[in-house]
């Protein structure tokens, strides 16, 4: 379990201080795949770097499996870092070492005898699907293969936690999918707690159970991925769930807009729009719609433009509010 309490990090810059993280509180359960998502500059990298003290927090505490990270001595911190390993967007492999030697590297640092380290490195390369690349140098590998080697390297010291900072952001969609599957497999088979930093909602959608949304250095929303997808509360969450933004309708000026969200298998087969027309006589227009699969659950949302006439608009709102399994909110028509 990772507990982050009142974490604040400031950077002194030429023009003044930047508050990169502002009073962050997070609890990451043991064995979870936990997403931290936010736009570029939100403070994601700084947050993840505070977990292993690559960045020293100005205030607050980080506790990983009972260890108060900020109060460890230098040797204790180095030992703790073997249990909290990291993979990166740019892979950060040693370019002058072959894959086997790259995977051996953390074991070499830890003083594990060479023969033992090499045997384990071979096993790990097999685990990540690159048994034949032991002798290849990173320059000879594709991006996805490099990230696999980096994952093998991160697993070498039997960590409890794997931190992934934009680990798939430099990869194409298919490779991203394959790497995420590998991370999921590692989480399931080895029970390693995974923290996934990303700016891509699709990544969170695919593998995370919980997610925290970071905006301007603060956590604006956190919870189960399915909840946040079906019913985002904060502006930042909405921007991420609907990357193009909630549609502003010059198309339908003066029409009241509502966003409806439905989650789980129970509601997707119910014809909301049709029943609105038939049972309630309200003819609504679909302004935007989106459905996605999150952890095997279908989650969807629509933005509906209500009828012009205020009386039928009100009736429609009441009808939707009482409709089972659907949440609704009004959207400002700007």
């Amino acid at each position: 379990m990772i507990e982050i309490q009142h974490l604040t990090k400031r950077f002194a810059m030429a023009g003044g201080t930047v508050v990169a993280l502002n009073d962050i509180n997070l609890t990451i359960p043991q064995g979870d795949i936990f997403g931290i998502i936010g736009m570029s500059g939100a403070g994601k990298s700084t947050l993840v770097r505070c977990i292993n003290m690559l960045e020293r927090p100005d205030e607050g505490t980080v506790t990983v499996h009972g260890r108060a990270m900020q109060s460890l001595s230098a040797p204790e911190l180095r030992a703790a870092r073997r249990q909290i390993t990291m993979i990166f967007q740019q892979f950060n492999l040693l370019m002058q070492r072959n894959c086997l030697k790259n995977v051996c590297f953390p074991m070499e640092l830890a003083g594990i005898p060479r023969a033992k380290a090499e045997a384990r490195a071979k096993e790990l390369l097999e685990l990540v699907g690159l048994p034949d690349k032991a002798g290849a140098y990173p320059a000879q590998l594709s991006g996805g293969q490099k990230q696999r080697v980096a994952i093998a390297r991160a697993l070498a010291t039997n960590p409890e936690v794997l931190l992934c900072d934009e680990a798939t952001s430099a990869l194409d969609p298919n490779t991203t999918h394959a790497i995420l599957q590998l991370v999921q497999k590692i989480n399931a088979e080895l029970g390693i707690t995974v923290v996934v930093i990303t700016h891509q909602m699709s990544v969170v959608e695919e593998i995370c159970r919980h997610v925290a949304i970071l905006d301007g250095g603060s956590v604006v929303e956190q919870g189960e991925v399915s909840d946040i997808f079906s019913n985002p509360q904060s502006d930042a969450a909405r921007r991420l769930v609907f990357p193009a933004g909630v549609p502003t309708t010059e198309l339908l000026p003066g029409r009241q807009l509502v966003r409806v969200a439905f989650g789980g298998g129970t509601t997707t087969d119910k014809p909301l729009v049709a029943s609105l027309a038939i049972e309630c006589g309200a003819l609504v227009s679909i302004v935007a719609a989106d459905t996605r699969l999150v952890n095997g659950q279908t989650l969807g949302s629509m933005v509906l433009a209500l009828p012009q006439d205020p009386a039928s608009a009100q009736k429609a709102v009441a009808y939707i509010q009482n409709y089972p399994g659907i949440t609704m909110e009004e959207v400002e028509n700007v």
Partner: protein, 232 residues
């Protein structure tokens, strides 16, 4: 044409030819030994210049870094001939003489190590910060980062820069001929400059060019050979 073979120019060259192989050897070993010793001092200094700065792997006090930089800049800005005059008494103390090839080694090292330190600094700065950070995230000590990440990752560049150091120091060693150093430089200066035997000077210089070519070719090949970033 027969006149040429009777000229003093030609006679001098023929007279000196037997000395040439030894002069080549003297130049070669003065250069190689000075570079090696300059590396012994300059490599750790270059490492300190990179790891010791604020935000580096092993931050050192600001005043110490300031002092280190000032000393290196100072020594780099003293012309080699002047530096040699300063250092020759040291040669006498260390080697027992201030003439001949061994006596040129201390001034050559003194001139070369600040230069080497800067070259090493440049090489180490090319190492990707992300890789250093990855090593830190795996619990590497500062010394492990230097020995297992920064130096091996910058090896091709270090070799290329050592080659630059070699050829530069070769130039200095030739200059040392002016004040009594041995080797090809001495022959070129003594016969070409003091006695106007230009043919001998040209031949000695041509041999210097050959030595430079040799160093450069070997250095370039070696640097390329150990660079695993190239797809092969």
């Amino acid at each position: 044409m027969s006149g040429f073979f009777e000229s003093v120019e030609w006679q001098t060259l023929v007279e000196l030819l037997p000395q040439m192989p030894f002069a080549v050897w003297e130049t070669f070993y003065a250069t190689a030994l000075s570079t090696a010793l300059a590396l012994v001092i300059g490599l750790p200094l270059g490492v300190l210049l990179v790891v010791g700065e604020q935000g580096g792997v092993l931050p050192l006090p600001r005043w110490l870094m300031g002092l280190l930089n000032a000393i290196i800049n100072l020594m780099r800005s003293v012309p080699f001939l002047i530096l040699m005059i300063f250092v020759l008494p040291l040669s006498r103390a260390l080697i027992g003489t201030s003439v001949g090839t061994p006596a040129t080694i201390p001034p050559l090292v003194a001139a070369a190590f600040p230069f080497v330190a800067r070259l090493v600094e440049t090489s180490l700065r090319e190492v990707d910060g992300g890789v250093v950070e990855a090593a830190q995230s795996m619990g590497a000590t500062p010394f492990q980062i230097i020995a297992k990440v920064m130096l091996p990752e910058s090896l091709p560049s270090l070799i290329a820069n050592t080659t630059i150091a070699l050829t530069t120091i070769l130039g200095y060693s030739a200059m040392a001929g002016i004040i009594g150093g041995g080797g090809l430089g001495q022959i070129a200066i003594n016969y070409g400059y003091y006695r106007y035997k230009y043919l001998t000077m040209v031949v000695a210089t041509a041999l210097l060019v050959v030595v430079v070519q040799l160093f450069q070719t070997v250095g370039t090949r070696l640097a390329a050979k150990c660079d695993k970033r190239l797809k092969r």
